[in-house]
Symmetry: C2
Subunit: 231 residues, 2 copies
């Protein structure tokens, strides 16, 4: 019997990765005179990975990595106007309007009040708060947890703070790495709701583990939870 | 009778602004061939202020503003090597070792266990968590609140979550704007512990309001709290 339902934000409740993909496409276009698209993509991700422990996740870290990689790939010859375009595009991610995914609002409304409903999301504090506010979903959420990393320690601590037994806690999200695998590790339930794009860092080679429900939209979540209750 | 004591992090428990001042000095040196130092400083702060609602506070926002301002002040003619120096210096703030202020550790140890002790800090989530971990103070803190803004709403919500009556809550910090004025607004106690530098954004024209205790170091905080108890 699930009593706690936790939801991821980016690419689960609202679109996010599509914006990063657009900016990355601009980046590849801008550095096209120095490197081919595959190299551009790989080098950008190498910079992001190298910056991650200090900069964490989110659009500000991404913006810094864009500029840094463009300077490196161009050996410093990139025109300032192109750097300005990258800065503007990166910063633009932070003020992009929040667009909910199909089925997200309905699922949240249906689950609210019947379960303790949590949002568990990582990234920039200011940016995530803005998206929560713009989403219109805040009134339905019992708790908003903006965290720096979503690993098993994060979920273990969250369960402890909530006084939630693992077998009564379900997390739904689009990232196997952040929303599914560490949740299974602590003995809780997870539902996988794939998004069209997955950031390289969130990709998991083997796909969803056996037995993890894969939903085509959050609209299927209330039904899944009802099934778990009946089982 | 104070039962809750909240402490600011940056420039109250550990040094922070000195690092930003160093990087700003490097910035002024780098743009010196385009503008005079006062203009450099004013333009950097204008960029930071314009970026604040989207980017928030902290070293990542500062790094983006450094690059953006240097491009603008040089009309795009700044060499890439200088942009690299700015990126490195800005990112370096995020991995700079955490150095406690004199008196901070002793005060925290003395207060821990006798009061409910909170850290209330704003900035980058990842960076603040790193500083808390490096500070060695986490074991003495009952709660760590990393927030996007420290205004009266933030303190009101914190008091509500803690179930703390305002008159039993005291906040100590180096910023009149973030640690003192909004705390007084909600009817709680505040102690002002000035730091050597105050970021322009945190400066308040009139100085500390009458009656607000001004401490020369956190070492004086346990004595102040004892006085409040006796009064």
């Amino acid at each position: 019997m699930v009593e706690w339902i936790a939801l991821d934000g980016d690419d689960t409740l609202w679109h996010s990765q599509d914006g990063f993909e657009e900016v990355e496409a601009l980046f590849r276009e801008i550095v096209a005179e120095y490197v081919d698209p595959d190299t551009a993509r790989a080098e950008l991700y190498a910079t992001e990975a190298a910056n991650m422990s200090a900069l964490g996740y989110g659009a500000k870290a991404f913006t810094i990595s864009l500029v840094e990689t463009a300077l490196r790939l161009s050996r410093g010859s990139i025109p300032a106007t192109e750097l300005d375009r990258l800065l503007d595009a990166g910063k633009g991610l932070l003020t992009r309007p929040t667009r909910l995914l199909d089925g997200a609002a309905g699922a949240v409304e249906e689950l609210a009040g019947r379960y303790r409903l949590l949002l568990v999301t990582k990234g920039d504090l200011v940016h995530q708060e803005r998206k929560v506010a713009e989403s219109g979903l805040a009134e339905h959420l019992d708790r908003i947890a903006i965290v720096s990393e979503k690993d098993h320690d994060t979920y273990r601590q969250l369960l402890a703070e909530e006084g939630a037994p693992a077998q009564r806690f379900l997390m739904a999200g689009n990232s196997l790495r952040s929303d599914v695998l560490p949740v299974l590790e602590v003995g809780a339930w997870a539902a996988y709701v794939p998004y069209a794009w997955t950031w390289v860092h969130e990709q998991v080679p083997d796909g969803a583990p056996d037995g993890v429900p894969v939903l085509s939209s959050l609209a299927e979540l209330p039904g899944l939870v009802a099934e778990l209750a009946a089982a």
